[in-house]
Symmetry: C2
Subunit: 206 residues, 2 copies
């Protein structure tokens, strides 16, 4: 995939607007105006509004697997690696939160004609790497056996997204007045909470 500057500019403008107003809530004219280009350029470069979105998915979702492998291959103690994995996931999720939001919303839209196969394939790969890591920790006796591994990531991603989707509520409730303090909260408190949750779940005996 080779994209020129203008294409990337369109993609990132579209990402912002799709995340803010939804796919159907964002018009091609809105994107082109915000990006400072002519309406026809979207069709010219991407073919259609749908294909623009598919291009955005590929543009944003690459190279996570590599980062994940890198963290695991450091061979730190299991609990430390677990913390690192969670921190990595949250960091990536937060950086690409807009695209993830669009995926979350459009993936469950039956009526949409968008190809999610590359996204699904990548997700499956990543989860099987994490699953292998947890099973290895179970064999080593560090993690307990009685855990629903497939739902582990649901808890990690789900907690982050619920925070992000209800940002307005938590801003109010936690008195996070400006963007920097939200960033700090995500990378400290929220990450710590999820790390503790996953560690507790994997080591807690009834």
């Amino acid at each position: 995939m080779d994209l020129n500057e203008k294409q990337i500019q369109i993609l990132e403008t579209a990402e912002k607007l799709f995340a803010e107003n939804g796919f159907d809530g964002t018009s091609v004219r809105h994107i082109s105006k915000e990006a400072g280009i002519n309406v026809a350029m979207v069709s010219y470069y991407f073919g259609s509004k749908e294909k623009l979105l598919e291009t955005l998915f590929v543009y944003r979702m690459s190279d996570f697997r590599m980062e994940l492998d890198s963290v695991i291959s450091k061979n730190k103690p299991y609990l430390e690696t677990l913390d690192d994995i969670v921190a990595l996931i949250i960091r990536r999720l937060h950086r690409n939160r807009r695209t993830h939001k669009i995926i979350n919303f459009e993936f469950s839209n039956e009526n949409r004609q968008i190809d999610f196969n590359s996204y699904l394939e990548q997700k499956k790969e990543n989860l099987s790497v994490i699953e292998a890591f947890v099973k290895s920790g179970q064999k080593a006796g560090v993690f307990i056996k009685n855990v629903n591994i497939k739902l582990l990531t649901a808890t990690i991603l789900g907690t982050y997204f619920h925070f992000y989707y209800n940002k307005k509520y938590y801003q109010m409730s936690l008195k996070l007045d400006d963007n920097p303090s939200i960033e700090t909260y995500v990378h400290n408190d929220l990450t710590l909470h999820i790390q503790n949750t996953i560690k507790a779940l994997l080591t807690y005996e009834k």
Copy 2:
């Protein structure tokens, strides 16, 4: 709020379509066709598409507080009540998942002119009841102190919604072929996973 049969029929049709295709992805004509009524009836009964949505929120979100109080006032042991609270939340969430999905998506849409105040007020109340319960358990020495209480519900709701939004993925991954087996999975495995997560988090010592 008194709604006649036809109004409820419109509301529930709209709920289904909004959840499937999004608010902007659902036209008033689509709703009226699916509900078997004339297009003008939506404006006639609700005033506008936006006000229809606000009516749906109130219609679905009521009386949770009552159920929550009822569970807590049974005065079972703390860990059992905790399980009951989680089970109650998941049951309610799952029953009203469509409306919750719409709220999640539209609440983070800056451009939308929808009144979320009654929803926010209710959410704040419910969370403060749960917060009080956890603090009481901490005083009793059953729950540990080192927990981010405000993020507890983010983990509960977030895990459920991540499962629901990625239903297609989990269906594939967990081989849940039909709707009954999904229902069973939600009320058994998923609920159990979240109960274990929250119990672990609230009792786990480093």
